[in-house]
Assembly symmetry: C2
Amino acid sequence: MLTERVAAFIERELLLAPRQKVVVGVSGGPDSLCLLHCLCALGYAPLAAHLDHRLRPHSWRDAQTVLRVARRLGVPAVVQRLQPGSLKDTPGSLEEAARAVRYQFLVEEARRWGTDRIATGHTADDQAETVVMHFLRGAGVSGLGGMRPRTPMDTWSSFETTQDVELVRPLLEIRRDQTVAYCREVGLRPRQDPTNRDTTFRRNRIRHELLPSLATYNPGIVDVLQRTSRVMQEADEWTAGQVRAAVPRVVIAAEPRAVVLQRKAFLAEPAPIQAGLVASAARHLRPGLRDFGFEAVEAFRTFVARAGQGHRIQLPGGLELVDEGDVIRLMRLGEAAVVSGWPQLVSASGERLPVPGRLDLQAGAAIYAGEPEVPPRDVRGAGPGLAVNAWVDASRLSEPLTVRPPRPGDRMRPLGMRGRRKIADVFNSMRIPPPARAMWPVIWSGERVVWLVGLRIGDDFRLESTTREGIRLQLKGLEYLP
Amino acid sequence: MLTERVAAFIERELLLAPRQKVVVGVSGGPDSLCLLHCLCALGYAPLAAHLDHRLRPHSWRDAQTVLRVARRLGVPAVVQRLQPGSLKDTPGSLEEAARAVRYQFLVEEARRWGTDRIATGHTADDQAETVVMHFLRGAGVSGLGGMRPRTPMDTWSSFETTQDVELVRPLLEIRRDQTVAYCREVGLRPRQDPTNRDTTFRRNRIRHELLPSLATYNPGIVDVLQRTSRVMQEADEWTAGQVRAAVPRVVIAAEPRAVVLQRKAFLAEPAPIQAGLVASAARHLRPGLRDFGFEAVEAFRTFVARAGQGHRIQLPGGLELVDEGDVIRLMRLGEAAVVSGWPQLVSASGERLPVPGRLDLQAGAAIYAGEPEVPPRDVRGAGPGLAVNAWVDASRLSEPLTVRPPRPGDRMRPLGMRGRRKIADVFNSMRIPPPARAMWPVIWSGERVVWLVGLRIGDDFRLESTTREGIRLQLKGLEYLP
């Protein structure tokens, strides 16, 4: 009966192909033993994997239980023991660290065992606890969806390239007491209290105090929350599809370190799509981001709606939002070195720019210097935004030209101005975001600025009516020119 | 400060126009007194309305408080006292009855006072309680949205034509203790325990036990739930728009007593749209329906997906779902008399059909009998579905023709068949839903069936090669012919 329900769930949610290999995380408790037994009974090829965190004395008994059951079922098993205290140096709470290490272990075993599936014994009761936890913390549709039947492992952050492995939860609609009964029926003896190490203090209180209290209001609370999670998952999945469909309307560029949005298009979207776009953009820049909640989304939306009322704010997760007029740029905070959409040097150490010749910038962009030639008659000054062309007087240049970022205090004489100005002030007046300035390319002739690339020509090198030979400097290959 | 926040909320949610008249439900407690005072301070024109349910001794003191405060503020006030015990005869719980009477009172006062707005003092704490109640009961996106800042009064069921009045809740983002503090500041003395009569035992427990307990997990729980409700309202509003857009794709007919859906089109919609369509259809048929939850939606979807596996089920709210092959019909249960989309008599008592002449059916449909004339050569038998034309041999008819529904046991000889069959069996073979049968028009000549309208011609009256004069019978004006 239980195996049939599990089989139906696996089929409905496409969790496993028939006879597929799967690494099962087995703690030794009733849920995971039930899962292991079920998967055997249903003809899958499980590997029982147990990580002994050695956080408690006698934890090896859990491992022994797992090995004994695996032997009885005739399935391979692997146990890994952590060095005592090895978790203490990791950042974050002990529980989070233990979980991260455990999942990493499961993923590695999956690779070794030659499968892309790992399975855990999370039940409907775990789901109810998760939904309640999210409800208490404040959650939208996605959060109230709780645990998904299948989850690509990249959403577990901290691992780099784990997209290939999926975590599946075949018991997600089974009650915990049903797994206990199942173990009894098939003669398995789970560990009495194989302290689910996933279980933080908070979760324990929710399990042992809050959910029983909620059951006095509604005895069917676990079933209700399991259905709530399912409805929310459906709504979330659908919304996610609509958000993906909105991306081309709203997002101009999604680079590894910046996402650029069109303000008007963003504001034209309905609120849930806006929220989804914000969350996607944030996750794009910070794949492991977990605490990008209501306030952040609200702050983002308010910022975008109030054009010009302030031109940058910080958001949770180490993100920064920059108002650039018609477009809004979401960036990783403090990553001055690489800013997409702006010209950025590969190295700060100073490079030669041959004439004629080129110098490669980051992200496929480059600066070109042309052959000396008769300059065109009407060369206009730069309008707003980046100028991709600059003509300078060849006769005034002293080669070799060098290209390096501005240093604090560096000055230049912008075209048409008498005095010298700090390059920082030029950046300010052009509203160039500070993270983009540190690697901004500046072309120097000796100690004088020839071209603050894309922004200002040095007045010392401007074309005169008497100029016979000019050099054309060009900025090419920027994906997005504001 | 509080008045400014209320003003901003009223503006953001478009609750009231400047200086608009509004009937305020005032219990005498801090929330409603605060609301009354605020609305005065903000320049609106409130009328204080108090209903004394006389459910407790000394309830008149609440009324006195309301009248005293209104006098002090210089606003008109009205108090209505129920007859003691007058609520006891109403169906449902006492609380529900009290609430229904109270809102009816407010709506009536609004009409009298010449406004389309009534206001209540629901706070962010009430909202949190509502969200928790819905969460415990099992709710989707819409339910977790809790109370809306504005609600058309027709959603309060039980009243017939109240769409013109809207209920607004200007304090929905204000905390309860802030209303208490406000009253203290402006020198109002609310009733100590003006037992919010909206407060059922369940809600009282949630207020006094559960929410304080949840606050031990998250001290900001009320704010969190207020934001949850807002996010859910946004998601719900957007989904509702998408559901409305899906209606023309899926719904063939939405009559007062039946909604007809295209099966394939329904199945092609994503799950949240399906759920929304089901809920809309149910509310369309039963405007006051409140308990059409998960299971009903799930049952509906399962029913539609499993074509032919059973051809009718009952749903909560007195609804019935009928499988008609390519279409699915949702009907009010037991309302056999009027079924949209099928030909239905106005009266069961038997009517004359003159030749030539017409007989009106329900919903604008009619049966026509033509002049006797030479019949066409090739009259085909009816294919699947309703036949709107029937030719019969004029010489065999004995006038007057009568039209009445079939009675149990009535038989006919369908065209081309030797024996006589029960009309009920003909209905079965044609899959006519039973609710449509009781008022189905049958044309009789004496005791013999001339035409089971739309379905079968009586063999006794069939055209022969020797027929010189035929009569054309027609069914016209049915909105939907399956």
